[in-house]
Symmetry: C2
Subunit: 704 residues, 2 copies
C-alpha cells in the first residue's frame, strides 16, 4: 500500500538522528537519547547539538551537515521555528521519516509554520509524525524514539494517540494490565502521518493483530469506511478499537440544518464507527479490556457464551453483562449437561452458568472446561474463579493454559481479587491467555469480539446505484443556479431535482380539456386535486380555481364546472387548463429523509420518524453516503420506533423496500453532487407495504 | 432501633462458640477457628467438637452443654439437620446471635428445615445470620467469624452480600483498591437478618459511613423506601450503594397485567432504588469506586466540577464522563482565571479543565488546587496526573494531602498508570484521599455523590392524600364482589370505583324530557352523545338510539327526534329516557395510568404515554405507592416523551397538575386497598393545561 515504504523508516530505522539532543536530564532532548541508548536499540544513534561532544557514550554532531552516515529517521526536539530548515538538512542526509516532538505549531495557532513544515516533508518525501507529539516506540527492535520512560513488552497491539501525555499513562497501565505492543506512536498534530496512513501500514504489519486509537478528531469518513471494509472483510482482518473523546461537546462543528441539534459531533462519529466496523471503547480502562481480549483470542464467533464459575453471584453478574451487550447464554447440549451432572457434586449447577461450587479444585474446572469446549452450542467461554481457602489458584491457571492450547474458541478468564489470585493471573498472562480482573468487562469485551466477527463475516456489498436517474438534468439545474448566484432551492425547484433522481413524488399534469382530465385521472388512479392554470390568477381558491378529492367518475363534470366558475368570476383571465395533482394518501406515516454534513468527516444521510416525534424523540439515524442496501435497511430497523415500520397493533407494515430505495437514491444524489450541503425531504410519506412512499415536501441548499 | 441490641452480640461478641470446629485444614470449621485465633480477636473463643481436645491453643468442648461460660455468638458449621437443636443448646448458654454457615436449607428446597431454624431463633430471641453464608467480620475488634481468609483494613464501609463466594473476592480486591471496612457480612439465605435489619443497625453504627450491598433479591419496597428516607433525610445520612444482579432476567416474577412485559423485575428494582435514594452500582468495580469516593469525601454538593490535569486527553475524557452523568463543568470565576493565567505558563489552559501541562511539577498543582478550592463556582475537584519524566509524583501527592486537610469540597485524585505512580497513590490512600486509578470512573462516582447529596437535601414530603374520596363505597363494592366470588371489574363497574376516588370522568346523566336534556347539556357545557335508555333495546344504534356530537342548541330537537324514531322502529319497547354523555374531547393525548405488582416488593403505579407508543417506545415509569406529589411529577417529567407534556411545536402543554392528581388518587386508592392487583386506566386523556384530564376506560382486578 501507498506510504508503507516510508513508514518502514519510521518503525525500523537503521539510524536515528536526534536533532536537539540535550545533556540536561529530564528534558525531552535528553530523554530520547537516553531511551534509545539504554532501552536496547541496536541501530546507529546520532545526537545533534552544537554545544556537546558526547552523550551516553554516543558521539554528538554539532551540525546535521557534518553527519557522516545516512540518517533514516530524524527525531526533532528544537524550537518550532528552526524545525523546517533542520528537516531540509536531514533530508539531504537521507532521512525518509521524521518525528517532530517540538510543540508550537497549529495547536497554538501557528498554522503557517505547520504548513511550511509539511511542505518541506512533502518535497523531500519524508513521512512526518507530529509535530507536537511524544514520539514512537517499536518494542520489536527495542526502539524508544520518544520521551516516554518505559519500553513496553512486545505484543500484538498497535497503539496510536492524539494525546501525548495519555501515552505515558498508557505505557504504565499496560505493564500492570498485561498488554504488550507491536507499535506505539504519538501522532500529535497529524500534519502528515494520521490514523488512516498508519492503519494502512499496520494492516500489513505481521506483528500487529489489533489497532488501538485514542482520537480527538478524525477526518474523511468515507475513506476511513472504505479502508476498514477492505481490511476487515479480507482474510487478514485487524480490529480497530477507538477511544474517541469529546463525545459530550454539544454542537462541536454543528451541522447546518434545522435538525442540526440531532447531529452533534458524536452522532457523526458513531455513524462512522458503525459503518467502518470500528469498535468504540467508552473509557481508557475498556480500551485495555478490549485490547487484551482481541489480541489473545482467535477472531471467532463468540455469540453463545458458557460461563464456568465457583461463585453464583459473579456468574449472574456476568450473565447480565453478557446478554445486555448482545451475547446469548449458550444452551448446553443434553450430553454436556448429563456429563456435568455425573462429575460435579449434586449441589453444583450443570446448566449455564455452570457453578462448580466454592470448594472446587482445579479438577472440576478442567473437566468442565474441556467438556464445554467440545459442545457445539458453545461459541465462547468465560471462566470465573473466586479465591476460597481450598481453591487451587495456580493449578487452575495451568489447567486453563493447557486447555487454551487446543481450544479454538474465544476464552476469557476472571480470577477475581488481587494479591491472592495474582500468581494465577501471572501464569495466565505469561501464556497469553486473556484475563479480565473483573468478570463483567470481560463479558462485555467478548460481546464486542463477537460483533466484530459478525461484521467481518458479512459479505462486502456495493453501494446502491440506480440507472434511471437524470444526472445531467441536476447538473444543469445547479449550473444555472450558480450562474444566478442561487444556492437555495424551495419546494417547486427542489422537486425537479428530486424527480430527476426518480424519487416517488405526487404525480401532476396539466389537462387542457375535460376528456384529457379523465385520461390523466385514470392514469394516476387515485383522488386528485384540481388547480386552475392561468398566468392572470394569483389566488386560485378565491375564484373557484381549486377543488380537492376529485375522483375519475366526476372529473369531467368538475373540469367543466371549474372552467365555467372561474370564467364567470374572472372573465378577463386567460385560462391555460387545469393542473391535476394526486392527493397525498391518508394512510401514511411521516418520516424525514435528509442530508447532514459533518465537518471534516463527510456527508451523512439522515432518516427517522417525522412530525412531532423528530423533536421529542430525536429518533433519527445517520450514515455516510454512499450507502449499501444493508446500510439503508439498518437505518430503518435500528430506529427506536422501528416497530412502527414493521406494523404494530394491527396496523399494516410500511413499504420498507421503498424507504430503502429512497435512502439509496438520496445517497446516490449526494455522492454525485457533493455540493449539496442541505437537503430535507420532510415529510416523506411512508405508505403501507406495496404502496410505496411519497415525497410531500423538499428543500435543497448547495454550496456557494 | 429495634434489633440493634441483638446485632451488637453479632458484631461485638465477648465470646464466640464455633459449633463444628474442625482440626482438618482447609475446611470451614477449621478456617473459622484459625481466623478468630490468629487474626487478633480478643474475646473468648470456644470451639465445639466431640472428637478433639485442643485447636490452635484453645480448649475444645465436646458438647455445648459443657461450656462453662456465657456464649454471646454461636457460629455453626455442622450438617444442616443438626443446626436447630444445637442452637437451642447455644441459647441456653446465652447466645443472642448466631451465624449459620451450613448450607442445605432453602437454597436446595429444604424450606421446612429453614423455617424450623427460624422458629428456634425467634423463640430464643437469637438474631440469625444465614444459613448458607460465609460469616461476618468486624475489623474494629479484629473478629473474623468467617471462612474468608483475609482480615480487611478497618475503614468506614459496611459491606453485606447475598453471595458468599463473592465476599472472598471482595476482600481480596479491597486491599488492592484501598477500601477499608467497618463491618463485613455474608447474609446467605437471609432467614432472619436481612438488608433492612442490618441497615437499621448500621445507621447507628459510628464506624460506618457508607453501606454497600450485593443483592440478588430484595423485599418490601415501601418499608425500604421509608427506612431510607428516615435515615438519609436526617442529620446523619448513610449512603446505601447496591449492586443488584439479575437485571436481565426477563420476566422474573413477571407482573400480571397486559403491560406486564414493561415491568420486568429490574424495572421494579430501579423504581425502588430511585425512590429510596439508593445508589445503584452497575458492576463490582463500580461498587468499589463508589465506596471509596463516598467514604473518603464529605457528603457535599459536587455539581460543578473543576478538573486539574497535566494531560489534555484525559481531561477531555473526564469532562465527557462527568457531564454525561449529570455533573457540570464549573465556570471558574474571573479572579481564578486571572490568577491561573499569571502563574501558569502561557501554553497552559486556565479554563476548566485546567491544563497545567505535561511538564508540571508539584508547585503548579498546589497553586491551581488551592486557588480553585476557594472559587465559589466550584463544588468539587478532580485532580488528574500522568507520569512524565519531570512529574513529581510523591511531592504532588503530598501537596494534595495538605490541601485535602482544609478543603471541605469533594476531591478525587487520578494518578494515571500503575507501578510508576504507585508511590503517590499509596501516600494518598494512607492519608484517606479518594483515588480512582482511571479518571472516568472517578468522575462518574462524583456525579453519584452529587445525586445522593441533592436527594439528601430534598425536604421530606408527605404522601398525597385527598379527602374527597369515598373509601366506604369502594369497600362496599369489593366486599359485595367478594361475596359473589367476583374479582374482575369491567368498565362500567370499574368506573364506579374510580368515581368514588373522584377521578375526572366523562359526565353522564339520564334525561327524561327534552327540557331536562337541555338543562343537562348546559351543565356539561360541551358536545354530548345521546343514547336511548330502554331495558328492551339491545342494539341501540340499529333503532336510531344513538346520536353523537349533539350541541345544546339542538338538543331539544334531537331528543324529540330520537324518541320519535325509536318509537317508530321499536314500538313495543319501554323508553325510560335518554342517557346524555360528554363526548371525549379531541384535543387530548392518550396516556396510561395503572398498577403493577412487583412480587415481594410491592404495588407500583405505572404512568406513561398511551396508544400505539406504549408498545413501540415502552415509555412508562413506575413508582411504589404511596407517592408524594414530587414522585408523581417526576413520573411525568422523566418520560422520554415528556416534552409532549410540556408542549412542543406550538401544541399546548398538557394539564400536568391534573395528571399528577390522578397519579396521587390512584396511589391513595391502592394504598387503601392493597387487594387491587391490576388496575388500568387506559386511556386517560390528558387535556391542555387548565382543562384537566378524562378517564375514558378502566378495568380493575382484585385478589381472590
Amino acid at each position: 500500500m501507498k506510504g508503507s515504504m516510508s513508514l518502514k523508516s519510521l518503525f525500523y530505522p537503521k539510524s536515528i538522528a536526534i536533532i536537539g539532543a540535550s545533556s540536561r536530564e529530564k528534558t525531552v532532548g535528553n530523554d530520547i537519547v537516553k531511551n534509545l541508548v539504554y532501552q536496547g536499540y541496536k541501530g546507529k544513534i546520532i545526537p545533534i547539538n552544537p554545544k556537546i561532544e558526547e552523550l551516553y557514550g554516543k558521539k554528538v554532531f554539532s551540525d546535521i551537515n557534518l553527519v557522516d552516515t545516512t540518517i533514516d529517521l530524524a527525531v526533532v526536539a528544537i524550537p518550532a521555528k528552526f524545525v523546517p530548515e533542520n528537516l531540509e538538512q536531514a533530508a539531504k542526509k537521507g532521512a525518509k521519516a521524521a518525528i517532530v516532538i517540538s510543540a508550537g505549531f497549529k495547536e497554538i495557532g501557528n498554522i503557517e509554520l505547520e504548513s511550511q513544515l509539511k511542505k518541506v516533508c512533502e518535497k523531500n518525501k519524508i513521512s512526518l509524525v507530529g509535530p507536537n507529539c511524544l514520539g514512537a516506540i517499536n518494542p520489536e527492535i527495542k526502539m524508544n524514539a520518544s520521551f516516554g520512560q518505559l519500553m513496553p513488552e512486545l505484543g500484538s497491539v498497535a497503539f496510536m494517540s492524539q494525546s501525548g501525555a495519555l501515552c505515558t499513562a498508557v505505557l504504565d497501565y499496560a505493564k500492570e494490565l498485561g498488554v504488550g505492543f507491536s507499535k506505539f506512536i504519538s501522532i500529535g498534530n497529524k500534519a502528515d502521518v494520521n490514523e488512516i496512513k498508519l492503519i494502512k501500514y499496520l494492516a500489513e504489519d505481521d506483528q500487529t493483530k489489533v489497532i488501538l486509537i485514542y482520537a480527538e478528531e478524525l477526518t474523511n469518513a468515507p475513506e476511513f469506511i472504505e479502508l476498514m471494509k477492505k481490511i476487515n472483510r479480507g482474510s487478514n482482518p485487524k480490529p480497530v478499537i477507538v477511544l474517541k473523546s469529546g463525545r459530550t461537546e454539544a454542537g462541536a462543528g454543528a451541522i447546518a440544518s434545522h435538525t442540526g441539534s440531532l447531529a452533534g459531533g458524536d452522532t457523526a462519529y458513531n455513524a462512522l464507527f458503525k459503518q467502518a466496523g470500528i469498535i468504540r471503547a467508552s473509557s481508557i480502562k475498556e480500551l485495555f479490556d478490549l485490547a487484551q481480549i482481541f489480541a489473545l483470542n482467535p477472531l471467532k464467533k463468540a455469540k453463545n457464551l458458557a460461563i464456568i464459575t465457583n461463585a453464583g453471584g459473579p456468574g449472574v453478574l456476568t450473565t447480565d453483562e453478557a446478554t445486555d451487550n448482545g451475547l446469548e447464554m449458550a444452551k448446553l447440549s443434553e450430553d454436556t449437561t448429563k456429563k456435568l451432572k455425573e462429575f460435579l457434586p449434586p449441589a453444583a449447577s450443570s446448566h449455564n452458568p455452570v457453578d462448580v461450587l466454592g470448594d472446587a479444585r482445579a479438577d472440576r474446572y478442567k473437566f468442565a472446561l474441556e467438556l464445554i469446549a467440545t459442545d457445539k452450542n458453545v461459541d465462547s467461554i468465560q471462566v470465573i474463579m473466586t479465591p476460597q481457602s481450598m481453591t487451587e489458584i495456580e493449578e487452575t491457571a495451568r489447567v486453563i493454559i493447557d486447555a487454551r492450547k487446543h481450544i479454538s474458541k474465544p476464552i476469557v478468564v476472571s480470577m477475581m481479587g488481587a494479591t491472592t489470585v495474582r500468581p494465577g493471573v501471572d501464569l495466565l498472562r505469561e501464556e497469553k491467555v486473556a484475563t479480565a480482573s473483573f468478570p463483567e468487562p470481560g463479558a462485555k469485551a467478548l460481546a464486542q469480539l463477537d460483533k466484530f466477527v459478525s461484521w467481518h463475516n458479512t459479505p462486502l456489498e456495493k453501494s446502491m446505484k440506480f440507472t434511471d436517474v437524470d444526472k445531467e438534468k441536476v447538473k444543469r439545474i445547479f449550473s444555472e443556479a450558480r450562474k444566478k448566484g442561487q444556492t437555495s432551492f424551495p419546494e417547486a425547484e427542489a422537486m425537479e431535482i428530486i424527480k430527476a433522481y426518480n424519487f416517488p413524488v405526487l404525480q401532476s399534469e396539466i389537462a387542457k380539456s375535460a376528456d384529457q382530465a379523465l385520461e390523466i385521472s385514470k392514469k394516476f388512479g387515485s383522488k386528485l386535486a384540481m388547480k386552475i392554470v392561468s398566468p392572470d390568477i394569483l389566488h386560485k381558491s378565491d375564484v373557484g380555481g381549486v377543488m380537492l378529492n376529485v375522483t375519475s367518475e366526476d372529473i369531467q363534470k368538475k373540469y367543466k364546472q371549474m372552467i365555467k366558475t372561474v370564467s364567470k368570476n374572472k372573465p378577463e383571465a386567460k385560462l391555460e387548463g387545469v393542473l391535476l395533482m394526486e392527493m397525498a394518501p391518508d394512510n401514511g406515516t411521516e418520516v424525514i429523509l435528509g442530508v447532514n454534513r459533518a465537518p471534516g468527516l463527510g456527508t451523512m444521510i439522515m432518516f427517522g420518524l417525522g412530525g412531532i416525534y423528530v423533536e421529542v424523540l430525536k429518533d433519527v439515524n445517520f450514515a455516510y453516503a454512499p450507502l449499501t442496501k444493508s446500510d439503508s435497511l439498518d437505518m430503518i430497523s435500528t430506529l427506536k420506533t422501528s416497530d412502527l415500520f414493521k406494523g404494530v397493533r394491527g396496523e399494516k407494515a410500511k413499504d420498507i423496500e421503498m424507504l430503502s430505495e429512497c435512502i439509496g437514491r438520496l445517497s446516490q444524489l449526494v455522492t454525485d453532487f457533493p455540493e449539496i450541503v442541505e437537503l430535507d425531504i420532510n415529510p416523506l410519506l411512508a405508505l403501507p407495504k406495496g404502496e410505496g412512499a411519497k415525497v410531500l415536501d423538499v428543500r435543497v441548499v448547495i454550496e456557494k
